[in-house]
């Protein structure tokens, strides 16, 4: 369980970006964070992922305040796929995925056979095995995103290797919610890749037991994918709960100042939002 407990945050004293936000993400949940530009979505994600520290309140992962966890400990359980990844130097896909193993290795340790195996497994899970030896810059936007997802997933898996478990006994002892954050995953993808990304995230959530939090301004993407939604406006939670109850014309009107038609699509069975007019 990932919990935001009365979280407030401001980049400086004058301006508050988030005020008193409380959200619960159940283990195994698939939650969408919605809101217009400037509503504090990305800041909220950074707070949940431990990249920023709340000015008030705290973020807990299975009960423990993440501000008190070491970076490496947190990185084994919380991974972030940013909107875009730019590399200063051109690494191969396998090298990028192996970078996800960072929190499992000591300063001078090189990746071992089990790390490579885990990397290959995450490549397979994201359908990018065939890209292994390509360099990152030669990939398309959609391929890049999948490789970054693979690299993020590589942070989680603990090798079956018992010596590694022995080296870090705490890794086995704690109950482990593993959270994958995706920031605007569809922003630079065409329709086909948007569907593919939704399917991938759904599979990771269902069959790999990964808790997923998706930040997006794409209402239909969120409606098709997420079981629960949190809607932000001006740094405050306007609505939260199951997708069915949150995604109503009233909520959309209150958040975006837009009149919208929301109905179940006859073929997909998901709620579908059609904006009609500005209010």
């Amino acid at each position: 369980m990932l919990t935001a407990d009365h979280v407030s945050f401001g980049y400086d004293h004058a301006r508050t970006v988030l005020s008193d936000v409380s959200v619960e993400v159940p283990a195994g949940g698939l939650v969408g964070v919605l809101g217009p530009n400037g509503s504090g979505k990305t800041t909220f994600l950074k707070l949940l992922a431990g990249l920023l520290v709340p000015t008030r309140g705290c973020v807990r992962l299975d009960g423990a305040d993440i501000a008190g966890l070491a970076r490496r400990t947190l990185a084994r359980r919380v991974a972030v796929v940013p909107q875009e990844t730019e590399l200063a130097f051109d690494y191969t896909v396998l090298e990028i995925v192996l970078m996800g193993r960072y929190p499992h290795l000591r300063t001078f340790e090189l990746e071992g056979p089990d790390d490579i195996e885990i990397a290959r497994r995450t490549l397979a899970a994201t359908g990018t095995t065939h890209l292994e030896q390509r360099t990152f810059r030669t990939l398309s936007g959609g391929e890049k995103q999948r490789v970054i997802i693979a690299s993020a997933l590589a942070q989680f898996e603990t090798g079956a290797n018992t010596t590694r478990g022995a080296r870090d006994p705490r890794a086995e002892a704690t109950s482990r919610t593993q959270v994958l954050f995706l920031d605007e995953p569809t922003s630079s993808l065409d329709l086909s890749f948007q569907l593919a990304t939704a399917a991938l995230v759904d599979t990771l959530n269902r069959s790999h037991d990964t808790t997923v939090v998706v930040c997006t301004h794409d209402l239909n993407f969120a409606a098709a994918l997420c079981r629960d939604l949190v809607v932000l406006r001006d740094g405050q939670v306007i609505a939260s709960g199951p997708t069915e109850t949150v995604l109503t014309p009233d909520t959309i009107g209150a958040v975006y100042d837009v009149e919208a038609d929301v109905r179940r699509h006859p073929i997909t069975g998901h709620l579908t939002v059609v904006p009609l007019a500005r209010r």
Partner: protein, 349 residues
């Protein structure tokens, strides 16, 4: 261009064993290259000497002219070249990763300009020369480097939590111009003999005249190299961006601080020993990336080894090409480095 790169680049590791082997091969290979270059370079020069006579234990050192030329006249210079080359190339790699900019050099952040200003002031004002003797110029330049380092670091950390690489870059570039202006002003006021001496210093000179300067230089350079050894994996992750590195478990601020301080220390010490010898810090890392790929666990040790060997070879060229006249070594590296830098610039756009 891409085809050339593909053929030059070694195959990337497919298994853990491969990576391990490649790390060892790179460390041993480039290390051996540096050592062998240091041993061969002193054999080259106007007085020809033979390696077997140099190491002939049957001849006492006092009568062995070959050994005297080798150990007293030429070896210190080769070792100085190796230390300076290794430091500048290593610092180049670290700063390029820290700033996420392939065109960064050890001189980007103003440390070398600070070092030059320090050296200039001593050469021109001349006062402390009497107090410290021949060590005055290197000491002053090292002090100048530390001063510049402190200013840039203070500016980059004062504005917000953490270390802003953007401010680091801007402050460094600004400090470079500011110090250059002060240097010009000091030179304008100086008499021609002092100006000549300071211009010579800026061109770089590895004729350290003995083992003394090497011993002073070894301490800061050694500290920097030990720090470098801790960095490569974190540097790999930093090239994805600070946030991506942090979510993968990197202590970003600590890494940036260690990278900036160690690279600046290495640069300051290298400039104090050999003057601001340009282009090593950019040619060598990029050549190495063409050979071994982007992984800093390979790039950093390979650049340190190749940087050492490259500068020693350039210095041999500097003292033999127009012998008995000597060319400034900075001119040689610039003549090789300038066109190479432009080629990189075009290739990256």
């Amino acid at each position: 261009m891409r085809d050339t790169t593909a053929t030059l680049a070694a195959p990337h590791p497919a298994t853990a064993g491969d990576l391990r082997t490649r790390v060892w091969l790179v460390q041993i290979g480039f290390g051996a290259l540096a050592v062998v270059t240091c041993l061969v370079a002193p054999l080259v020069g106007p007085t020809s000497i033979s390696l077997s006579r140099v190491f002939d234990a049957a001849i006492p050192f006092a009568e062995n002219v070959d050994a005297q030329v080798f150990f007293i006249a030429r070896l210190p210079r080769a070792i100085a070249g190796a230390l300076v080359g290794a430091s500048l190339a290593g610092a180049g790699v670290v700063l390029q990763a820290l700033l996420r900019n392939p065109l960064a050099t050890p001189f980007t952040l103003g440390v070398s300009a600070g070092a030059s200003l320090g050296a200039m002031l001593v050469i021109t004002l001349g006062v402390p020369l009497t107090l410290l003797g021949s060590a005055a110029v290197p000491l002053a330049s090292f002090a100048g480097a530390l001063g510049a380092l402190a200013i840039v670091y203070f500016l980059a950390t004062m504005r917000r939590q953490g270390l802003s690489t953007l401010v680091l870059l801007l402050a460094g570039v600004t400090l470079n111009s500011l110090f250059s202006a002060i240097i010009l002003f000091v030179q304008y006021l100086a008499d021609p003999a002092q100006t000549l001496q300071s211009v010579r210093w800026v061109m770089g000179n590895l004729d350290v005249g003995g083992y003394g300067p090497i011993l002073w230089g070894i301490a800061p350079i050694g500290v920097a190299l030990v720090a470098f050894a801790r960095l490569p994996r974190a540097l790999n992750l930093l090239t994805m961006g600070a946030d991506s590195a942090a979510t993968r478990g990197v202590d970003v601020l600590r890494t940036q601080r260690l990278a900036f301080l160690s690279a600046s220390l290495a640069t300051g010490a290298a400039v104090a020993v050999g003057g601001p010898i340009g282009f090593i810090g950019i040619i060598v890392p990029h050549l190495v990336r063409l050979l071994v790929g982007a992984d800093h666990r390979l790039v950093l040790p390979a650049s340190i080894g190749l940087g050492a060997a490259f500068l020693v070879v350039c210095d041999v060229a500097a003292r033999t090409v127009l012998s008995p006249m000597e060319l400034p070594v900075g001119v040689i590296t610039a003549m090789l480095g300038g066109p190479f830098f432009l080629w990189l610039l075009v290739r990256h756009r």
